[in-house]
Symmetry: C2
Subunit: 330 residues, 2 copies
DNA sequence: CTGAAAGCGCTTACAG
DNA sequence: CTGAAAGCGCTTACAG
């Protein structure tokens, strides 16, 4: 009953119009070259029966589905903005997208192969890594593009894990006269956390700055608060590089517990550019990530692959620093 | 080439195993009752050819696809959390979901009907309204559930637009001794903004409080700042009900511009329970919305409809007030 | 326990 | 300009 459906088929349309189902098919595919009279009879029949083609049957014959899949891991990291970008790019190229969320690289790889062979999609964009065994398949039928921006748990890797903006933040702060830095790191399982931490260390070295320490945080606001509590009173930094905006908010809270003013006594930087960060006090200096652009970029690569075109390339950076009130000269 | 694919079919598996394709089909559907020897031959052949069933062909025959669609409007409101809930509920019931994002009620309705008739899905959950004309179809083949929680642009309506938590906030504040209230409303196109505004007015009336005014905001942090700037110095409120967390952050910023302490001089409440709100200073009293639960609820209704079961019902409220530092006795 | 036949709703050559 | 035939890869009765 739920799957019954007495939809009219091409044959019934043909019968009503007094033509062969052939002709109806031709009409549907807009092949042209139909006698105006035939055309009209078919049109009328279609309207009368409220006919709509069965896309499954069509797909079976044409081996084309007009759909692309995006495989993402179980939503650790909210992929909404990336999906928005990918979805827009797909639509512009005439494709619908389908989102499949699977946790675990093993399961994800299996699901991807299954999907690839199912004949249900023409291409697959995976925002998380899959096992190398799946690559072997890529050439066979459907195009598969695997993003190098996220690891198995949707943690940033590759360009996104690049800590470069940390160097940009620290360089500017050093130019303003900051010498004593402190870093509240994100959870170490994350390549992005490691990247920022590494860049922090490198930049300390390169610019000859003082490293007050690195706090082993976990992306939480609590870790930001705690990081400041742990600081010895006779060894305070003047600038804190926090792993993200929430941590930065925690750092500012911790600073105020200790009577430290931000940015008077302490400059604090975040990461993610959350909307609210612009209004909290002090407003947060942060790093913006172009997630929509990321989704769009992956999708454009996929569409190119499906069509057998050359992979497009991008010049634009995906991150940019936004300076606000939480940073100032010491 | 991209859509070629030389995947083995059931027939080739049968040939290699020395059985009829029938038997292979039976094996695949786990019908049982196969001779161990036959079973093993089929198994080997499948492994050898790396056979995987063509789901399009299967769907065509069975008229079942094992997929459910979620139709959402172009992403005004990030539906990630709802999708996570819906996706989890679907997976628990053995369905895959597919997300289709379409803006505009007219286009969305058309796409929904198309999808319904395409034979590509067994059910459709629309998180945004569709034209009544589509209801006529619901009974025919695929189940269609239309959420009553959002309007055409993914704005909250129904239970979600209910301003009840505003009454809860105001009642408690009044118990604490607050008398002079101010409301920074969200954009009036939103039923939720209107609901909160209405409840604000009703509660002022019911509890006999003083209404300092209602500022026509637009959900932005800027509108929160501006709302406080506009206040006459000899008519200041002691409590501000802001339309959401970002607005509340703006209100607090505006208050501090005028030398008002929160919560010392002014209590401020938000809405949405953004993570960062717990760490900013003062931490934000807010209203939490169970978006995952909302997605789950819709999906459970859909699955029940697909299976011809009775629609489940829920008792739990979707919103709850969280008290934090931004509110205190006057 | 297994096979031969028919058909799901379309499109793709091939005739005429 | 239009139709008769075949087939996409599977499953569903029906035999045996």
């Amino acid at each position: 009953m739920p799957t019954a459906g007495k939809r009219a088929t091409i044959v019934e349309v043909a019968r009503l119009a007094g033509v062969s189902h052939q002709t109806v098919s031709r009409y549907l595919r807009f092949e042209g070259g139909l006698k105006p009279d035939t055309m009209e009879r078919v049109e009328t029949a279609i309207r009368q029966l409220d006919y709509r083609p069965n896309l499954v049957a069509r797909s079976m014959r044409t081996r084309r589905t007009g759909r692309l899949a995006i495989v993402i891991p179980a939503m650790a990291f909210s992929p909404a903005r990336m999906l928005a970008g990918a979805s827009a790019a797909a639509a512009e190229s005439g494709y619908m997208i389908e989102v499949v969320s699977v946790g675990g690289i093993q399961e994800r790889t299996e699901r991807l192969l299954e999907l690839a062979d199912s004949g249900q999609v023409e291409g697959i964009l995976s925002l998380a890594p899959v096992l190398p065994s799946s690559e072997r398949r890529a050439a066979e039928g459907v195009a598969v593009v695997v993003s190098t921006d996220f690891d198995d748990s949707m943690r940033s890797i590759g360009e996104l894990a690049d800590g470069a903006p940390v160097a940009e933040l620290m360089t500017r702060l050093a130019e303003w006269g900051h010498r004593r830095f402190y870093h509240v790191a994100g959870a170490p399982e994350f390549a992005s956390a490691r990247g920022r931490r590494q860049t922090y260390a490198d930049t300390i070295e390169r610019l000859g700055l003082d490293n007050v320490g690195v706090f082993d945080g976990d992306w939480s606001g609590e870790s930001g608060v705690e990081a400041i509590r742990r600081l010895s009173p006779d060894n305070l930094p003047t600038a804190v590089i926090a792993a993200n905006d929430v941590v930065a908010a925690g750092v500012i809270r911790g600073a105020s517990e200790r009577g430290l003013d931000v940015p008077g006594d302490l400059s604090v930087t975040g990461w993610d550019n959350q909307t609210i960060g612009q209004f909290i006090q002090p407003s947060l200096t942060t790093v913006d990530i172009d997630l929509e652009g990321l989704g769009r970029r992956g999708m454009c690569r996929l569409v190119a692959a499906v069509r057998g075109e050359a992979a497009p390339s991008w010049a634009a950076a995906m991150t940019s620093v936004i300076w606000r009130e939480s940073t100032a000269a010491p």
